[in-house]
């Protein structure tokens, strides 16, 4: 008997004994649905937790400060800042050449005087830092848009603000959209000698529209703008004389860098390479390692629950098929009496088990994804109530393949014993047994 004939016979046998097949498929469906739902929730939750740890930016991001590293820098996730150290294009080129580096994004921040719109009880002016980043590649930055959008790269009349800005202006953090469209006047000071010989200050004013509200960890500061705007302000400041410690001239072309490593495993080596160049760095590698360890425990526990469900389903398949073998002894005997070999009979029963597993796997995977989506919707509603960003359901193809393939393989394993038992039944069963 060919495989196609055996498959056809198995299919007919499974579909025409509908009630029994449905019950067995249902057991597999529920088990695979549980496993797929758990796997989907775990994968989604993991990415959410890791995203939180990496502050919304790439998980492999390393922050570099325009300062020398103090001893023991690599033993901690935080900066250990020493004396100032210039970061320029040559520094960026040098780091880009290092092994394991995917991208390098410059950061430049300056202190600004901002005049926000008048709000009852709000400040008339704010001294804050303006953070300039390369907005052509926002994916390289630890920036999460909470409302609106990022400023367009190269424009000097758009800005994004942080939740800290909303707090300063007594705006509702749960309703960040209200800040959008407002205009803020911002100025960086230039220090020049006056006619009397004393120092005088003058500002270069820019009116920017708030186009987005963000959470950002590129550098401390409430205003996120294109790096070109901050570079213009820096050049303006450099044309002045500086004011010692109070208003020092920004000597370094960039105040920091965001270096993105190829993989999580490369982060430490890249940090080491940057450390060799003398720069202080910060990356949540130890925090991520600890979080991953805990997540691994959660994976194992949830995986074990799913596996127990699958084993129970497998036992259900074995039991149902053993019952079928008992009930179909005469039919099996007749198959042999008309010339079927032991392996033909075994093949039919194995394929029948595989069919049940595949059907349960497909239905279970679909049900599992739907269940995970429903759980995700409930979680998102809760997160929104807490003022937190929601999760995006992540269903890797591997989960779908494993859901269907795993259930089929498990059913085949579960069907092995009944199939062997059927194959070993003597042909004399055709005449009712001896």
């Amino acid at each position: 008997m060919s495989w196609s004939d055996a498959l056809r016979l198995a299919f007919e046998s499974a579909t025409r004994r509908f009630g029994r097949t449905v019950l067995t498929v249902l057991a597999v469906t529920l088990a695979s649905a549980l496993l797929v739902a758990l796997a989907t929730i775990v994968v989604t939750a993991n990415s959410r937790v890791i995203n939180q740890v990496s502050k919304g930016g790439p998980i492999t991001a390393i922050r570099v400060a325009a300062a020398r590293a103090e001893p023991g820098q690599l033993e901690t996730d935080d900066f250990r800042l020493g004396s100032p150290l210039r970061i320029d294009e040559a520094t960026i080129a040098g780091i880009e050449r290092s092994e394991g580096v995917d991208a390098v994004a410059p950061v430049l921040d300056l202190e600004v005087l901002a005049v926000p719109p008048r709000v009852p009880g709000g400040p008339q002016r704010i001294f804050e830092r303006m953070v300039g980043v390369d907005l052509r590649h926002p994916e390289r930055l630890p920036v999460t848009v909470l409302a609106g959008r990022l400023p367009a790269a190269g424009l000097s009349n758009e800005t994004a603000v942080t939740l800290g800005y909303l707090d300063r202006l007594r705006l509702d953090a749960d309703d960040p959209e209200r800040a959008l469209g407002q205009r803020v006047a911002m100025a960086h000071a230039q220090v020049v000698p006056s006619v009397t010989g004393e120092l005088d200050y003058r500002g270069r004013w820019v009116a920017a529209e708030i186009v987005g509200v963000v959470a950002q960890e590129a550098a401390p500061g409430m205003f996120l703008v294109p790096i070109e705007q901050v570079q213009e302000d820096r050049d303006w400041a450099l044309r002045g004389v500086g004011d010692g410690d109070r208003q020092p001239l920004p000597r370094s072309p960039f105040s920091g860098l965001i270096v993105v490593a190829d993989t999580l495993g490369d982060v430490h080596d890249v940090r080491e390479a940057i450390d060799d160049l003398g720069y202080s760095t910060s990356a949540p590698e130890q925090l991520i390692a600890n979080v991953q360890r805990y997540l691994r425990v959660v994976d194992i526990v949830l995986g074990a629950i799913g596996l127990i469900a699958l084993v129970i389903a497998a036992l259900g398949i074995t039991n149902a098929m053993l019952a079928q073998v008992r009930e179909r002894r005469r039919e099996i005997g007749v198959l042999k009496a008309i010339g079927a070999r032991d392996r033909d009979v075994q093949r039919v029963f194995l394929l029948e088990a595989g069919f049940v597993g595949a059907a349960g796997g497909v239905a279970g995977t679909a049900l599992g994804i739907v269940t995970a989506a429903a759980v995700g919707a409930v979680v998102n509603r809760y997160l929104a109530q807490q003022g937190l960003q929601g999760v995006e359901l992540s269903v890797p193809l591997a989960i779908v393949v494993a859901g269907i393939g795993g259930a089929t393989a498990l059913a085949l394993v579960a069907g092995t014993v009944p199939a062997r038992r059927a194959a070993r039944l003597p042909a004399r069963e055709a005449v009712g047994g001896a």
């Binding site: 016979l9 007749v334 010339g339």
Partner: protein, 234 residues
């Protein structure tokens, strides 16, 4: 109606047993069912096996059909000892040499009449179109062309047995064994089935051995063999 065999074959095989002995283990010790049975049915012959229940009729048929292993003695079909056949060789013997008709019909309940016949043909590896054509011809030869999509549960007893005969003839057997083929049928259906078996024997030239309790059935055979206590009665 004449069915063209798949390949030309010699007429029915000669069946010979000598000193055939068979026992079944029971709680009370071995139960001897056949006591050194000697018989011969010539090629193309038509033999009726009769005897009381427990006389060993069905056991003899199972041994000749390769459903049970020969324990002791000689059993030759077409000059070939079936006692030496094992595993795939035994399956090939059952598939190519023997056609079996059971009292309980032995049809696969989830398959239609046509599919039941195709099932037997599928074991020989012939292609699907040829298989279907041959199954249709066989079904028509037993007068059930209009029942091809009916499952066994929707057929009468006589119709089921006719489908079973068509299936038994699917691979053009040289030995047709029928175990109480009319045992579950009314008189009219029994006569129809018996007539069909006889015409199949005539058209295909196969040897026909029928186990029956029915004297009128036995009287239609050219050879009547009565078993008594596992031996051939005089």
């Amino acid at each position: 109606m004449v069915i063209s065999p798949r390949d030309p074959r010699a007429p029915g095989v000669t069946v010979v047993t000598s000193g055939l002995r068979h026992t079944y283990p029971t709680a009370g010790g071995d139960l001897v069912v056949l006591h050194g049975l000697d018989l011969e049915v010539p090629g193309g012959g038509y033999a009726a096996l009769t005897g009381a229940s427990g006389a060993g009729k069905s056991t003899l048929l199972s041994l000749l059909g390769g459903l049970e292993a020969v324990q002791e003695g000689v059993a030759e079909v077409g000059g070939r000892s079936i006692a030496t056949l094992r595993g795939d060789d035994l399956a090939t013997y059952r598939r190519e040499t023997v056609g079996f008709v059971f009292q309980h019909y032995g049809l696969v309940p989830v398959l239609s009449a046509l599919e039941n016949i195709e099932l037997a043909l599928s074991l020989t590896g012939i292609d699907r179109d040829e298989r279907r054509d041959r199954a249709r011809t066989l079904l028509a030869s037993v007068g059930l062309a209009d029942r091809e999509h009916h499952r066994p549960s929707t057929l009468s007893g006589g119709e089921r047995q006719r489908v079973a005969i068509a299936r038994a003839m699917a691979n053009d057997p040289r030995l047709l064994l029928a175990d109480e083929p009319t045992g579950n049928l009314d008189e009219q259906a029994a006569a129809q089935v018996l007539g069909l078996l006889e015409s199949m024997r005539t058209e295909h030239g196969c040897t026909l051995i029928v186990v029956t309790h029915n004297r009128s059935v036995a009287e239609r055979a050219t050879m009547r063999l009565r078993l008594d206590g596992g031996r051939l009665a005089a």
